[in-house]
Symmetry: C2
Subunit: 425 residues, 2 copies
Amino acid sequence: MSIKSDILKVKAAATVLSTVSCEIRNAALESVAKALEENKEEIFKQNAKDLENAEKLGIGEAVKKRLSFNEDKLKSVTDGIYQLINLEDPIGKITLSRELDSDLKLYRVTCPIGVIGVIFEARPDALVQIATLCLKSGNCAVLKGGKETACTNKILFDIIYNAAISSGLPEHCLLQASTHSEIDELLDCGGYVDLLIPRGSNGFVKYIMENTQIPVMGHSDGICHIYVDKEADLKKACSIVTDAKIQYCAACNAVETLLVNRQEAHKLLPELISALKKAGVTVNATREVADICQVDEVVEDGFNKEYLDLAITVKLTDNVKTAIEYINKNGSHHTDAIITENIETAEEFLNGVDSADVYFNCSTRFSDGFRYGFGAEVGISTGKLHARGPVGLEGLVTYKYKIYGNGNIVGDYAKGIKKFNFKDI
Amino acid sequence: MSIKSDILKVKAAATVLSTVSCEIRNAALESVAKALEENKEEIFKQNAKDLENAEKLGIGEAVKKRLSFNEDKLKSVTDGIYQLINLEDPIGKITLSRELDSDLKLYRVTCPIGVIGVIFEARPDALVQIATLCLKSGNCAVLKGGKETACTNKILFDIIYNAAISSGLPEHCLLQASTHSEIDELLDCGGYVDLLIPRGSNGFVKYIMENTQIPVMGHSDGICHIYVDKEADLKKACSIVTDAKIQYCAACNAVETLLVNRQEAHKLLPELISALKKAGVTVNATREVADICQVDEVVEDGFNKEYLDLAITVKLTDNVKTAIEYINKNGSHHTDAIITENIETAEEFLNGVDSADVYFNCSTRFSDGFRYGFGAEVGISTGKLHARGPVGLEGLVTYKYKIYGNGNIVGDYAKGIKKFNFKDI
């Protein structure tokens, strides 16, 4: 049985959900939060089954942490839902209103995108987070979670879906896909699914991006750079570079490549590298860096590497121009920073680097929806269209143009019988 | 020789162009307009060659009109350039500014997308229009025109490019692709080309959309509907439906399917169909329509047809709900209108129809950037992400997040040593 016929029902529900009031959507979110709290023992029981299976399969501790759904995770997702309820309604906002003629008015109004396909690996809390973000923004969602948490996903989905429809949201507003083959079916649903949001490893996201005609919001690689300029404050540089590497090295916004000004390398490198090594970071560097101070390994190519680990590549570069060129060519357009006390050099870097997030004298780790004050985060996008960088609720809306007329026809304007007046109102 | 190596140079030029001031971009546009005027005799001469070739190939008069580049077309494109100069700079606009902490400021700033690939059939004036739109918005462009106007395209490109770089825009900011095989090479340039804008027939645009991983802005089909409600003003309905069909029937925003309320069909149909037939429109309709009044052909399926000609499909439907369902299922999400005197019914239609442009009591032909007062038009998009409906200059920009810090690290906030204050400034 194909999932497509079910997705057609979701598509139909999207028309209904798009016109449901914010009060009802918020009430549904509140029911979801309460239902999750009320059924927590059953959720933990199902999660225990998944964790037992993981144990049997010999899945490592780090991954098992991601699979677990405990009191802490429950609190984190329900807190998130209550925050979401308090956020302003992202739909129905008028972003342009213009009189084309005295009896012909044009409005641009935000509205839901329609059907969002969400495919995620491992973390069952992501299911709750994204399903509720979709409902807040009036979007239907097709959710496909990883098989490692099949039992947890199923109960979470059932609780969310039942709470949503008993609060007045349309039937089929959410759909759970559960078999692996359904991923490829979902990727093939152009025309029914309007946007895909993959959450998982780089390889997984890359696979999604390369195998669908549906627009994808997200990022695969996060190869972030820090350029330490000749006019850098060395104390700031050491602190920022270390934070950007070790504060959470598995994150996509952790620094992977350090570029240091060649002219001042003798002055800058020893302290930078010593700070990194003291923090437990493996330093791989070019020969000319190794000639100045001791490194772990000398590398001469393969620089654009995403370690996602306590390791970094260090390389010299002539100036801010060559740093910009290098980053635009080798980076992943995610987050890149410059350390300098010269604001003009900084501006050149911020304007020239073609990345979603460009920073002056601070850690690349700030690139995150919560740290930007967006409340809920849909994800981080390295695409340039629609939404770029950390994406809040507004990434889940589009707009439509509405015109209110009174029998107006184009022929009258073409013939000069009537004239447009284009007055913003 | 592959075009990819040339596109790499364009990609590098994009970094430079993105930082060129609006004064210089406007001065370049002025030089372009003047150079086109000064070299018009040579342009007309090259165009004559293309038209001679078209003659030899037996190309029809309608297409030949599109191929021609004469005084009128020159005036129209240079007028367009002078208008473009007067439009506000779309880049460098700050759309969010927020203090994350007293010494940590976040800004969201509009910036060019980068490299735009433009592929168009026939009309050489489109080359001038889109090249200048790209330069105004700080984007580099790769232009591929149709072989039918190869001579005209070549001279237009040379004039524009030389005027642009002698005004201070970076070398390689524009590139002309001239052989047909380069289309497929261009479609394969993901990572170097950020956005594709195809302009041409439906089949052509569909081919582009289905054969690239690069985001595409545009539309293939324009299957627009008008629903005549039971509470319609019949006079308005006749006038609007006729205008929407005949004012320019080859346009994407011309109406293709007329849905009429079944309950009032006996009252509404005779005048509607008589108005259409009087205007020379071929009326294809279902059996139940034919039972009420005479039609040209009875059809029972294949309704979602884009005629692009003086022909229309007429069909009955129960009410606004069924009309919405029908349009969402069979339309192309372009432009759809309702004729009614009941504003509540109208609101239900405008909210429920999942199209870029939804109209109340006016012709579908209003769906156009010029008629929306956008000045220059990039195209009309039926995609829901980034830009939807008629797209002005703002469809050619994206944004980046800039943070200005003072040595700030995430560790301090994670440990609670410092606190975010999230104050919009």
